[in-house]
Symmetry: D2
Subunit: 290 residues, 4 copies
């Protein structure tokens, strides 16, 4: 499953109304251009009549280049009313990370990035606190401190948007950023703005989920990686994970244990996103896990 | 951990305000009567200043009998303002099971009971449907069909209460019973009325949790075993479990997969209850898992 | 994912050397005959250069019948050197179950079958003990008692083979059968003889795995569902599962806890097999989990 | 459960032959000195007739100091033939970490240490490679590069032993160190030398476990945190964890996925060790998990 980023490959993502002959048409198109399939995932939502496909194509097998592929594929895409894109996997995505005071998710992502686990570059980290600067800069990544004053946050978010734009980030990860993102950014980065919520959504929506979990006496706590929409904590879920707790855990223990599932859910969710395994439709996702 | 039911043993359960010397006093009391501890669990809720203890005592090591123990222990219990009881583990608890149309939880409990996994007798099964009669009777257990008409349920629940009383059930298990239990029964069987809810509470409270889970697009579904109180789905949680689902699961798949976690959460929860591992305080539980 | 057995559908299973154009050729073949894909799974083993496909085709969409499909598909299959078969999902597979003294796996399978979770019929249960007869017959399934004397087992296995043949079983499930199956049966039912081993293979191969696990002090125990080959405990693995144990578990506790993972691993493994999600190659499996 | 390291507390660890009255005697001893129990765990191995206890005592409640406690407790300990020790939790243990080329376990431990998750100091990191120096030094921890030449390793290990001694390390963690530790160090640090093995022991003992797991076609891979003894991969197990893999995982994917369970098993194992939750007896452990 692991397409080594150094090996040339393209990922073709398609979703469209289901119809007889779609797969045949797509695969014939690819085969006629010499394309060898490294990985292929399909899903048909029979109820909704909707078709989803992810094909990873060996780049060296293709007789045409990326742009030519797009040109020649367009008429076929139109015929089946496809939403689609082709990704060149040799070009790592640019991922801006936003963090607040907590280091655990950020440290985990930076380590995975440095270990070549994630096929992306990280052009910048933005935080409303200063405390993580040294860790970020040690990784050779620019750190931007953008305080977010309670009274007026608009200027801070304007500045934030500029930084992200300047760094040409395609995806934004909120690694426990803890600030509500303004609607403008949510819609600009629709399907590309990833959050980790520190509860097993839809349980304990909103602030202080660990306190709420402690008060309710649950026996498992969780974390949810999801795309951010204007509806707080209601966006499409990419990945979730849980961990067992007991009566002997106080709230601080839950916070500590929760960090482990936050890390794992976020890093898996981001990985799925970067490998184009996630297709959003409405408020739900198709996730072609390996 | 497994105290074989045939081997004579007593379980002493205590909860009280925390104080220096409680454990010493209790253990000295037991030791002075020759009592050998097979298993001992303690918990101190530092925040609440509350102490919890579960001691399993080898019956053959005790120099006094059960009643004498209770008599002699009472003054000590008073001194520390204990809530306490002593259980003779050679007397299996009497557990009435209530079920509706679905067989999976009931079949699982009956099989475990027949396999001597649960230290209880099952004096009766009550259902508002007829379809499970044969399965229950094959196990040699009386089956009572008590229909619950939508218009007026009071008579049905009066009848139900009579059956349970007649069978001298100490604990009631709702094995997917799907009817709201009237407050009178809830309070009579407080801490002894166990339900399995087919969601990871507090997510998807109320009816049709699998449909809600499907609509929300969660990546894990769960089940919750809890004591029933008058507040629907809000009682103290004993045990929870989850299972992974994907975009390829429709609602029926979730229902099917959910059965497995319903079974496991309910059977573990009941086991903990029958082994006196669960101590309720307020709306939360201490569960001394093995 | 759940193809309701009542709804007409066919599953096409293919494995062959990888080559450009295979998927296109297959899908074009299906599309030209009106075939609508309900589910499609593919895998390419890049290292081995081998291709695997599972397509579930809506039966009502096909313009030709099953036999015609086979005839017309054969030349294509030859061209790509395919190993392949087409399954009519409206014809449930015939599964003979063999059990010994333990009831838990058998009871679980029978309950799932009765609940329509498994798309199969169970023409018979064979056991070397008498104790499970009543349970099996209550389900309306013929029970055959075939004792296996230690001195000479050949006659017993001849009788067993006859019973299985007479009942035209396509698949045999060893639900904790605890006897070594003779090579002749292993090879006759290659890829169709499923065992549940009560350990996390390759740990604790051979007899008494729970005792060995207890002696080694492991913190997780497991179960392994695999196809049986002549090499004991070495056949292709279909599914595995684990459960946490602690120092407080004695060997009997491990046996009891292990039952739960034996049940879950076996029932999932059998389900995958019955849905033709498992393709064996060499000593390994491709399992297209839903 | 979380005893904040800043709050004064002592942990008393005892194991001895089981006898009536042990707990009473111990708890009376503590209570008579005003000691308030924050946490208490007991286990009786009935088969072996052996008793295990872990008591966490509130330091401020005690009327005597640490040394006096030890003096006064000694006669009681002798009477019951106890192996025992008392730990002052305000003095963090000194943990030396040894690593090789891989960064994931080391980075995880350093981050947890820096986040105050682990009650220890890390006086030094020793590695046979240079590549992790910068990461270690960024954390303000001395890094020692001790190459281990294939031809003669004795000098390297002598040097290693000196460094560890000089830094007065009480516990050594092998964070994927990948070299066999000589018997002298194993026995000097018996019960204080912790390794993470990259397989679910006893499966795939020895080198290249991920390759072996890939070749066998297992569906779960794991990691094992254990104390090192002279018998390679055979020491007492502290903690294990597993993660699901599929046919689509090649060996490199297994290596990558395995890192996550290596991290989690090692960090939990070390945490249990640092909180004196682990008692070794023979080749097995009692682990009082929270």
């Amino acid at each position: 499953m692991s397409e080594s980023p150094s090996k040339s490959s393209f990922t073709l993502i398609i979703s469209c109304p289901d119809e007889v002959g779609i797969v045949a048409a797509i695969c014939q198109f690819i085969a006629q251009r010499g394309g060898s399939l490294i990985e292929s995932n399909q899903h048909t939502d029979v109820e909704q009549g909707w078709f989803y496909l992810r094909n990873v194509i060996d780049g060296q097998s293709l007789s045409i280049d990326e742009n030519r592929f797009r040109e020649e594929f367009a008429p076929l895409a139109d015929k089946f009313s496809m939403e689609w894109y082709l990704r060149d996997n040799s070009v790592p995505q640019r991922v801006a990370i936003m963090a607040s005071h907590s280091s655990h998710c950020l440290a985990d992502l930076l380590h995975r990035w440095k270990s070549n686990e994630l096929n992306c570059t990280i052009p910048c980290v933005i935080s409303n606190h200063e405390n993580l600067r040294s860790m970020v800069e040690w990784h050779g990544i620019p750190f931007h401190h953008v305080p977010v004053p309670k009274e007026d946050k608009s200027e801070a978010f304007e500045k934030t948007a500029n930084i992200i734009e300047r760094h040409q980030a395609e995806t934004i990860v909120l690694a426990r950023y803890m600030q509500i993102i303004p609607p403008a950014i949510c819609s600009s980065y629709s399907g590309r703005l990833i959050n980790i919520h520190h509860s097993f959504l839809p349980s304990f929506i909103g602030a202080n989920p660990y306190q709420k979990a402690y008060d309710r006496g649950v026996k498992l706590i969780g974390a949810t990686c999801h795309y951010v929409t204007e509806d707080l904590d209601e966006g499409p879920i990419i990945e979730q994970d849980v961990i067992r707790v007991s009566h002997s855990c106080d709230k601080d223990d839950m916070v500590r244990l929760g960090r482990d599932v936050e890390r794992s859910a976020l890093s898996r969710g981001l990985r799925y996103h970067l490998e184009d395994r996630v297709i959003v439709r409405g408020n739900k996702t198709v996730v072609f896990t390996p």
